[in-house]
């Protein structure tokens, strides 16, 4: 059998090469894209570790445990590879909340608080801190100088890397072991063996040291890539999604994504199916060219098992040779491309860290510091096993299809078409055109199969482009809406009191600086929306209502009233007109016009969003009204934020809703956007700065976003801004310029990856189209031979073939348009809105891409038919006619 298989492979060289090429291409695709996604996830993990810290959990412990746990410790069921120790020795809440902490080297490494300059403190009055903290505390910039904190002078001995999350409420000052504060709180930062389940190791660790589980905080942004929590069973997840009221399809997808990395595993599986489809298609075409020979073998007494064995051996031989080669090529090419992208980030880290002390935050710039290409061995092995077994089935299916056809049937040509009794020649007609259409449409099942297979690549390409375009929009909108990253500089107050503000004069100074542009000063107050009749999502505020901080400070967020209505706490923003204009991209309903807002005293509401990307605003729409109460500032205390004091302390106004938006732009920090909810979408209302003044008497600002002018030196601008806010109590400046650059590069990289994937899929699809079209022509070579014998000229023959190619191309385009617009786009919209939770799915596939794909489809189909036609035209007519 092996000999026969080998003979066939050698005799049908072209077909063998086509199958081999399809195996190499699909293996490249499968392994390359899997590795790409795997690498991307690995880099996301590395990125998260940079941003959120390279640790999995931290736990507050007693002093004894704190001392006894060590890095590298192996216990029953866990391996603690790294253990960082951090002890808070003192806290000062004067102007800023400042923590004096003593840490070990492991903690500094895990939290990315490396020493950039100088030395670590050794004496009691020595401190080290990052550039952000030092500059905002008014440090001169020279090591050895003293700094006054909490009425005491300290000598600054070293500068550390800043926290990524530099705008957090706390400032950390590193002290030596000899520093004695007023207390001691000890924390262990835990980094377990990532090759094993983290949640199991944590359980074992907590058991061993008898640490209660509620003392543990999970570094979710890191552990979600590593299985930080025990996954639910797949069956239970699907059952819950289908049977429970709270569950739905989105729940299933999101749960599978979080527990089983659906994006990666699902993609690997889909790629396996796609690979199988392409190889099967090419192979079945190849086998169809020698069906008669297998028929003859059968008549000679060769059993089906032996024929099947020959086919399996043929496929497996090529697969064993082609798969590793394809993996090598796919990974090789993509790793080169991947490494090339790493140049985008080249030198970024070093360049920034060498800067002298300024307000510029140094860690912010780091992000993806190293772009590594990782091989996805899991996917390659799975793909190998899956395709090996599947190809065996493919061979058996081909044998099965052979069984259905007798040799006589094979020799009498294609008789499976629908027989219409219409005589075309009774009317003036182009019979060549009739023949073309008959060839194409006589067998509907076949034509649908061909058209679908022709459309696969185009559809995938369009979907990927659609996704990439929307990803771009989403990322741009996210940058805008995530506070700070829309603008390079953000001046805010390290305070959560409405009493602290940035005076109008300071804002004007920043606006009038030659080095700044797009300066948006935002007013803020805290309010309560009353008389909300219905909460469409009953449990939406449950977590916030039970959050200790929210309860103690605001008395809860959403409070039911005796009359059945609700009162809900709200952030209330006053935007500048230009900033309001930028909200247009986030509008869900209604329209935004600053003048209309002012004249009609209207308001913009930020909709609530559930975990699946659905928006709502208590059933209210533009034109409806809401009632808003805000505290008066005359005798303001934080107690007023509970909205339980006398009515004389509040101003109540009714506003008409002008628009409902999905996100606010400039966001507060320290009120609702606090702690766990720092990055969450919290209830918000937006009006103009003028309205804030007229309605509530608010004149000063709470935060200012600014961008550097085109040719301005960013460091100079940041120093100028610092000067402008020098006299504003609690005001701090965060410089996001490097972070924005990193994010934009990261986005660009993501887009290139998406496009690469789309192009690879499209190339494979083109190969498949060429092969299918070639087959559709060659399978009719006898008929074309007859037509040529009947006297069609070469030009007429080429026209006929051209007509076939164009018709297939155009029909494939129609199928692509229909499938893409009616099915795929809707599925993608659902996926992007509810699973990926993109902000506004506005972008379509650019017309030039759409028309380019269509033109390319036709061009490829035409080229794919003209080449075999050219060969046919050179063949001897008689040999073609006698060719069965």
């Amino acid at each position: 059998m092996l000999k026969l298989a080998w003979k066939y492979m050698r005799y049908y060289k072209n077909q063998t090469l086509a199958i081999f090429a399809s195996i190499i291409l699909t293996a490249s695709l499968l392994s390359g894209i899997s590795s790409l996604i795997y690498s991307s996830q690995k880099n996301d993990l590395a990125n998260s570790k940079t941003i959120y810290g390279d640790w999995h959990y931290y736990a507050e412990t007693d002093k004894e445990t704190y001392e006894s746990v060590q890095s590298g410790e192996q216990g029953d069921g866990y391996l603690l590879e790294r253990c960082g120790k951090m002890e808070i020795r003192d806290v000062i809440a004067e102007e800023f909340l400042i923590c004096f902490i003593h840490t070990d080297e492991a903690y500094r490494q895990m939290a990315h608080r490396d020493l950039l300059k100088g030395v670590l403190p050794e004496k009691e009055d020595e401190i080290a801190a990052d550039g952000f903290v030092l500059s905002n505390l008014g440090f001169s910039g020279d090591l050895g100088d003293s700094l006054r904190i909490g009425g005491k002078d300290y000598t600054v001995t070293g500068i550390l890397k800043s926290e990524w999350d530099a705008s957090s409420g706390e400032m950390e000052v590193f002290v030596s072991d000899s520093f004695t504060g007023r207390g001691s709180q000890t924390f262990l930062y835990l980094g377990f063996d990532e090759e094993e389940k983290l949640y199991r190791q944590l359980d074992a660790f907590l058991r061993e040291y008898e640490i209660p589980s509620d003392a543990v905080v999970n570094n979710e942004e890191v552990t979600r890539y590593l299985g930080g929590e025990e996954p639910a069973g797949i069956y239970e997840t699907i059952k819950f999604g289908l049977t429970e009221e709270e569950g739905n399809f989105t729940y299933i997808v999101l749960k599978l994504q979080s527990d089983y990395n659906l994006a990666y595993n699902g993609m690997v599986f889909l790629l396996c199916l796609f690979s199988l489809f392409v190889v099967y298609s090419v192979f079945s075409i190849s086998v169809s060219k020698r069906t008669s020979e297998y028929g003859i073998l059968k008549t000679l007494g060769v059993g089906e098992g032996q024929i099947g064995g020959t086919l399996i051996l043929e496929l497996w031989t090529m697969f064993l040779a082609g798969y590793p080669l394809g993996c090598f090529l796919g990974n090789g090419i993509l790793s080169l491309v991947y490494q090339k992208f790493s140049g985008v980030f080249g030198g970024k880290g070093a360049g920034v860290t060498e800067k002298s002390l300024s307000v510029a935050d140094q860690t912010l710039a780091e992000g993806v510091s190293e772009v590594r290409f990782c091989l996805s061995w899991d996917a390659m092995i799975f793909g190998f096993a899956f395709l090996m077994v599947s190809l065996g089935f493919v061979a058996l299916m081909v044998v099965r299809s052979l069984r259905k056809q007798s040799l006589k049937e094979v020799m009498s040509g294609d008789t499976s078409f629908t027989k219409r009794r219409k005589i075309y020649a009774l009317r003036p007609v182009n019979m060549a055109g009739v023949v073309v259409r008959k060839f194409m449409f006589s067998n509907k099942r076949k034509v649908i199969g061909i058209l679908l297979s022709l459309s696969v690549g185009g559809c995938i390409f369009l979907c990927t482009t659609y996704m990439a375009e929307n990803l771009k929009i989403h990322a741009e909108l996210s940058l805008k809406s995530d506070d700070g990253l829309g603008s390079e500089y953000r001046v805010s107050l390290k305070s959560n009191s409405l009493g602290d503000t940035i005076p109008e004069a300071a804002a004007d100074k920043i606006k009038n600086m030659p080095g700044t542009e797009r300066v948006y000063a935002t007013k803020f107050t805290f309010g309560e929306v009353t008389r909300i009749e219905e909460l469409e999502w009953d449990s939406f505020f449950d977590d916030q209502n039970t959050d200790d901080y929210f309860v103690s400070r605001y008395g809860g967020i959403c409070l039911p009233q005796e009359d059945g209505t609700y009162k809900i706490k709200y952030d209330v923003y006053g935007y500048e007109d230009e900033l309001l204009g930028q909200l247009d991209e986030f509008v869900l309903e209604g329209g935004i016009d600053p003048e209309t807002l002012k004249t009609g005293n209207k308001i913009i509401a930020v909709a609530n969003m559930d975990g699946q990307g659905n928006y709502y605003f208590y059933g209210r729409r533009p034109g409806d009204t809401i009632t808003l109460r805000v505290p008066k500032m005359d005798h303001y205390t934080d107690e007023l934020l509970k909205f339980q004091s006398g009515e004389e302390n509040y101003i109540e106004k009714e506003f008409e809703i002008a628009a409902i938006v999905s996100r606010p732009l400039a966001r507060e920090e320290g009120f609702l956007q606090e702690g766990f909810y720092k990055d969450a979408l919290m209830p918000g209302l937006i009006m103009t700065n003028e309205q804030m003044k007229e309605n509530f008497g608010i004149v000063d600002y709470s935060f200012i976003n600014a961008s550097p002018a085109k040719d301005a030196v960013t460091e100079e601008v940041s120093n100028q801004i610092l000067q402008a806010i020098r006299d504003v109590p609690k005001a701090v400046l965060v410089d996001y310029s490097a972070a924005i650059k990193t994010q934009k590069n990261y986005l660009r990289q993501q887009q290139i990856f998406f496009s690469s994937i789309a192009v690879i899929l499209f190339v494979i699809s083109l190969f498949h189209i060429a092969n299918s079209m070639n087959h559709t022509i060659l399978v009719r070579r006898r008929e074309y031979g007859i037509i040529r014998a009947m006297g069609i000229t070469d030009i007429g023959f080429y026209k006929m073939i051209l007509q076939t190619g164009i018709l297939y191309g155009v029909l494939a385009d129609v199928v692509i348009c229909l499938v893409y617009n009616l099915v795929l786009r809707r599925v993608m919209n659902y996926y992007m809105a509810h699973i990926l939770q993109f902000l506004h799915i506005q972008a379509g596939v650019p017309n030039r891409v759409l028309f380019g794909i269509m033109a390319l489809n036709v061009a490829i189909a035409v080229a794919a038919v003209i080449i075999p036609a050219w060969k046919l035209a050179r063949e001897n007519i008689i040999s073609e006619i006698h060719n069965f």
């Binding site: 009498s412 040509g413 294609d414 008789t415 078409f417 027989k419 009794r421 005589i423 075309y424 020649a425 009774l426 003036p428 007609v429 182009n430 019979m431 060549a432 009739v434 023949v435 008959k438 060839f439 006589s442 006898r782 008929e783 031979g785 007859i786 037509i787 040529r788 014998a789 009947m790 006297g791 069609i792 000229t793 070469d794 030009i795 007429g796 001897n876 007519i877 008689i878 006619i881 006698h882």
Partner: protein
């Protein structure tokens, strides 16, 4: 008047040691209205000769004149059009288009002449004459071998060619159908004043023709003239 003339035709396949001389120095004249049979054993070169006469293949040596035009001097396009208008073919395997019904199969060659009017009356007459008018909406695979060959003959005659070349037209037929088909060919030859050259390996069938040309090892070995007054080949 000679409608077909072959002058020292040779056809060689392959190269060097694999070279095979399929035809050697064939000279032949066929008169208008003649019904000639080319007889020979398998591999003798009779089909090759027929294909060369029909312009479906090119000779290695010599010249072929049809209606006094040397077909080797024609361009591919001219040859195709010349063949379409002057030569009809009937093949042993019928070579019908499986996706077209009987009527459309027959009409197909006419439509290749752009703008040429389809003489539907003539097609009907042909189909009636050949006894397949009732089958005009049927597809080839719904017909018997004899019926398919009638369709093939009708298709060959539809352009009213001067020369009809038949390659083993009865090779796939039983004896009764063979007699029928031969009768039809003869009748059409007379009715439409056509010259027919038929390749066969069946001596008995050949004997029913006006003239028999024997071919062995690529050479004409003998021939009998039934129409001496109209001319004939020099070797006979």
């Amino acid at each position: 008047m000679s409608i077909l003339e072959l002058r020292h035709i040779g056809k060689t396949y392959g190269e060097k040691e694999n070279q095979v001389n399929a035809l050697q120095d064939i000279s032949l004249q066929v008169e208008e209205g003649e019904f000639a049979a080319i007889v020979g054993t398998s591999g003798s070169g009779k089909s090759t000769l027929l294909n060369l006469m029909g312009g479906l293949d090119n000779p290695t040596k010599g010249e072929i004149f049809i209606k006094n035009r040397e077909i080797g001097s024609l361009s591919r396009k001219e040859l195709t059009i010349f063949r379409r208008r002057n030569i009809g073919f009937v093949f042993q395997n019928y070579s019908l288009m499986p996706v077209l019904n009987v009527y459309d199969n027959v009409a197909l060659p006419v439509t290749f002449d752009r703008g040429k009017h389809i003489n539907r009356k003539y097609i009907e007459e042909l189909l009636r004459e050949l006894g397949i008018w009732e089958k005009r909406r049927k597809y080839p695979n719904e017909l018997s071998g004899g019926q398919q060959q009638r369709v093939a003959i009708a298709r060959a005659l539809v352009n009213k060619p001067h020369l009809l070349l038949c390659d083993e037209p009865t090779g796939n037929l039983d004896s009764a159908t063979t007699i029928e088909v031969m009768g039809l060919l003869k009748a059409s030859c007379r009715k439409y004043q056509q010259t027919i050259l038929m390749v066969t390996h069946n001596e008995a069938i050949a004997q029913t023709c006006d003239r028999v040309i024997h071919i062995e090892d690529g050479r004409i070995v003998t021939g009998k003239r039934r129409f001496p007054e109209k001319g004939g080949d020099e070797e006979c």
